[in-house]
């Protein structure tokens, strides 16, 4: 089993006595890699990913479930990682933006579409947008415009004005080899 993270870092934290409550040995699969880290059970999954596992692609915007910058897939479902306490991630499978591209050399079709259509500007909302788009396309491969709007409604963007994000998602469906004209549903 390979592991993410820096165990020495956790050991230091533990032995320093910073925590008076019992920590847990959190076991989860992150982007296909079995991972163990020692964390506080109430630590937010967002902080576990960013600080313990150094997967800083997942962003924090609001910290209250409103903006979607922290969105990840938890057992395939879109969630706000700022609202998931570590103990609820025990034994789960997590996909972050770092796990979306099939390889270092190739982007996922949704990522490629965001590049092609100018769907990202400052990039803060982009990891969450891409995971929300992936979750949408999994449950609904040929979404209508209304379905795209609903699927991304929990993700705020201060830069793009959304239009280019919607066209990126439409492009990603086309990249799948299908048309989106008029959507059937």
């Amino acid at each position: 089993m390979s592991t993410h993270g820096h165990d020495s870092h956790h050991a230091t934290t533990t032995s320093s006595g910073t925590f008076t409550r019992p920590l847990i040995e959190l076991r989860l699969r992150v982007n296909g890699i079995d991972t163990v880290c020692v964390v506080h059970p109430m630590a937010r999954l967002l902080d576990v990913l960013r600080e313990s596992l150094h997967l800083s692609g997942t962003k924090e915007g609001c910290g209250e479930g409103e903006c979607g910058a922290c969105a990840v897939l938890l057992n395939g479902e879109l969630v706000c990682s700022c609202l998931v306490p570590a103990l609820q991630a025990m034994g789960t499978e997590v996909t972050t933006i770092e796990g979306v591209a099939p390889s270092l050399a190739t982007l996922d079709r949704v990522q490629q579409a965001f590049v092609d259509c100018g769907g990202a500007q400052c990039g803060i909302c982009t990891p969450g947008m891409i995971l929300a788009a992936k979750a949408l396309l999994t449950r609904c491969p040929q979404p209508t415009e209304a379905e795209i709007r609903e699927g991304l409604a929990g993700n705020l963007c201060r830069c793009t004005g959304y239009t280019k994000i919607f066209s990126s998602v439409l492009r990603a469906c086309q990249a799948d080899g299908a048309t989106t004209e008029g959507g059937e549903r």
Binding site: R21, R44, E64, G65, E77, L78, V79, A132
Partner: protein
């Protein structure tokens, strides 16, 4: 300000008995004297209310019991006389259930309009009820459908009509050692269902993703020209999600003429008790509630 982690303790319960055993600790009784709230375990389901407080450093320090993994609290089951929803049923599961969409469409609508996808994937019906916000969106629908709650502790199980569950602002008929286990919706007969009209409308600052200023759920069964089984319930117009029996009484058995509707609007105006707050004013809320009542009754003419 962030929450300070060492002030919290949290464990996951895998079974209902395990959860109830922890909840019983410190609740007073055989175990010894009652403990202050911070020493008792508080359930955490989808976390979409509690973790918002936690992130903001506003969740009281103490012991939190993760119930997300308890299978006994999951699942939507259909019986001839009722539908049972496990307390952990998420908004996503509610909105995807075909029979609910058919027979309890206001609840489906509430789920669709509660937060965005990521919130719907975690937010639960049990949490929406127990969080006891007067602005929550599923309670008006549940009140319209005569929902009942099953509360369970090591002391036993009991059923409470949902209309009696909330007793004051954030006060409810749930003892600290009890969990809401399931929500039961009684089904109408096939004949009544055929003639039932459902109405659900959430009014907020924006169409989506906004806390309600007023949330209105109504239903009736058409009996020729007359209305029967009239149910009206609102959110954000009182300290609790409010069923409106006095307004219902004006309409029950009546033909909804303009005079009847006006009388019902008048009674509704006095039955609700809205306040001014950051989201709206009491005058606005009262007017909107009365207009929604009109809109709801206009459906009688359409069906």
């Amino acid at each position: 300000m962030r929450a300070y982690l060492p002030e919290y303790e949290a464990v996951s319960a895998r079974t209902l008995v395990e959860a109830l055993t922890l909840l019983a600790q410190g609740a007073g009784g055989l175990d010894g004297p009652a403990q202050p709230p911070g020493r008792r375990w508080q359930p955490i389901a989808g976390g979409t209310d509690l973790m918002v407080l936690f992130s903001a450093g506003k969740l009281p320090a103490g012991r939190y019991l993760d119930i997300w993994g308890i299978e006994e609290l999951r699942g939507i089951t259909v019986a001839p006389s009722h539908i049972d929803l496990g307390a952990l049923s998420t908004f996503t599961q509610v909105r995807q259930h075909p029979l609910l969409a058919c027979e309890f469409s206001s609840l489906t609508q509430a789920a669709i309009e509660s937060g965005a996808i990521a919130i719907q994937n975690r937010g639960t019906l049990g949490g929406n009820i127990a969080n006891a916000s007067p602005a929550a969106d599923s309670p008006p629908a549940l009140l319209c459908y005569d929902a009942e709650l099953e509360l369970v502790s090591l002391r036993g199980a009991r059923w409470v009509p949902y209309a009696e569950f909330h007793t004051g602002y954030k006060q409810m008929q749930r003892a600290s050692d009890e969990l809401i286990v399931r929500i039961r919706l009684p089904r109408l007969s096939a004949v009544e269902r055929e003639r039932q009209v459902h109405y659900y409308r959430k009014v907020g600052t924006r169409k989506a993703q906004a806390i309600s200023k007023v949330c209105f759920a109504g239903s009736f069964v058409r009996d020729g020209e007359r209305l029967s089984r009239v149910r009206i319930a609102l959110g954000s117009v009182a300290p609790i999600p409010l069923r409106c029996p006095r307004t219902e009484a004006v309409l029950e058995g009546a033909v909804p003429t303009s005079a009847v509707i006006a009388a019902a609007q008048e009674v509704l105006g006095s039955e609700i008790a809205p306040i001014d707050d950051i989201r709206s004013t009491q005058d606005y809320r009262r007017t909107v509630a009365q207009n929604l009542l009109f809109d709801f009754l206009a459906q009688a003419a359409l069906h």
